[in-house]
Symmetry: C2
Subunit: 333 residues, 2 copies
Amino acid sequence: MIQTPYLLFLGDAPDQLAAKVAQGIKDWRPENAVGQFRMPGCGADLGITDMTLEEARAAGAQTLVIGVANRGGYISKAWKEVLVAALRMGFDIASGLHNLLRDEDELMAAARVSGRTLFDVRIPSVAYPIANGKKRTGKRCLAIGTDCSVGKMYTGLAMDAEMQKRGMKSTFRPTGQTGILITGGGVPLDAVIADFMAGAVEYLTPDNDPDHWDHIEGQGSLFHVSYSGVTMALIHGGQPDALILAHEPTRTHMRGLPDYDLPSLETLRDTALPIARVANPACQVVGVSINSQHLSEDEALAYMAEVEKRMGLPTVDTFRQGAARLVDALDAV
Amino acid sequence: MIQTPYLLFLGDAPDQLAAKVAQGIKDWRPENAVGQFRMPGCGADLGITDMTLEEARAAGAQTLVIGVANRGGYISKAWKEVLVAALRMGFDIASGLHNLLRDEDELMAAARVSGRTLFDVRIPSVAYPIANGKKRTGKRCLAIGTDCSVGKMYTGLAMDAEMQKRGMKSTFRPTGQTGILITGGGVPLDAVIADFMAGAVEYLTPDNDPDHWDHIEGQGSLFHVSYSGVTMALIHGGQPDALILAHEPTRTHMRGLPDYDLPSLETLRDTALPIARVANPACQVVGVSINSQHLSEDEALAYMAEVEKRMGLPTVDTFRQGAARLVDALDAV
């Protein structure tokens, strides 16, 4: 686990979009962030306190989290100066960048001297077991998509937040680097060795109280040929009691695959449910989560009303409407 | 690619079963094996010429293949003496053992000095791409199982052999260590990083002549929760034109999963075909391959006749009956 609270490093982010990891932390775990660190020319602002490294340490920050994508895919000299100073000052550093902190000699050296830890959250740090398929106690919910990047992580975080608000027992279980940085732990499933994928998901969602819900972060899609194996392992390792169907209605083809159409929500349901019931015969599809960001409010509401009628399932955009109706549906499982 | 021909190292194999990799090479690619190397106490015998290292080199052997499982899971001192001598004599060494040749300092040192290569075929040696899903030329056949270890590799090898015999264009495409050692190349799919599984299968089965068949070695099962993600990636990366259903009729539960029943052949067909058609809308289920080793000849024939009638598909045990009828079915695709 990454030690909280964090100082969120925005570096020289060109714009707000580049800082989406930091934005996710601020949106979903504001208590994890004591402040933000911005360098000259930074175009992003989370609207939280700007702090120097010293101020953040004094405020209790344990870890500097790189909350921004790096330009050009390398860690610049300007960044490195800040990161080395942070290590010397007692921060750990956590990063979901493609290029690894551990591959930077200066950072490794500074971490060694200071006895600090570099967390490259894209890389598994655990030797996961092979899945054993044993039924686990507690309940699990998984969002599965008609495509990649249709709002599965957001849906899981929103459902977890709603359950927390209601005083229900609930944990968000990240399977990708953004989710891992938001919560401080999880499994970077897309970087796990094939044979251990389902076992990694079992490890991520252990036995729990009978009335506890794990919200497992979805990945890929059963219909996305590049990543469907990862989705399959999530379904069989996760043993979900409940599936949420996630969809982005303006997508004209599968992400990155111009020759592939999206499946209908019905096809997704009818494909996924028998597969999920291999691992959990009681699994049900309980709701639909629509990412309607490219529709107007009126279009979105009309579209969701139509889907709700067609599918007979509560259908919401958790960003526009919150996750209350999905949580109501889970609560009935 | 591993250089052929091989000298098959049987070491101190306690019995024939321990030498199943060597047996597979001798059965399927006898032209790849100049002879066998047995140590004192070896209980296995392939019925091919026993050779010293010197004799094998003189006969043209390029690679010493470890064709046997190691007792206790470590490479013994007695083995190491032979392997070091082989490296010094100009052999490469290839192994599918869990513990890696490259982790043995003495072997690494000897390989360096002699300029030889150590092939640990369980470990990917290529940075596979992410799958792009583009339709490839040529045809592909994949055996999918109701469970793991039901004869999928054997089926693919037998179909390839039958096509070769008929002068058809055909290649067996290994996805596991035994198949890789038999043919000298392939993808160790269960050791590939999750995000690159389907891409590795695309890499394994590139564009080919329109009348060429790739027989892709199957792995796992869509219904085996430990490995189903690997199977999924095979189906979506492989874009099969034809599926063969593989089954072992005496299995009482999924291998290693006592609480999981096997699916019926009908359920396997109905689950797999829509999934396969995501990547290849023309995909068909063309036959059934039964591993009837635990049935008598009479029981086996009666069982297969019943399955053939029920499924309306040619149903054979390729070990007992050869793959001719399956190849006839492929030829009609």
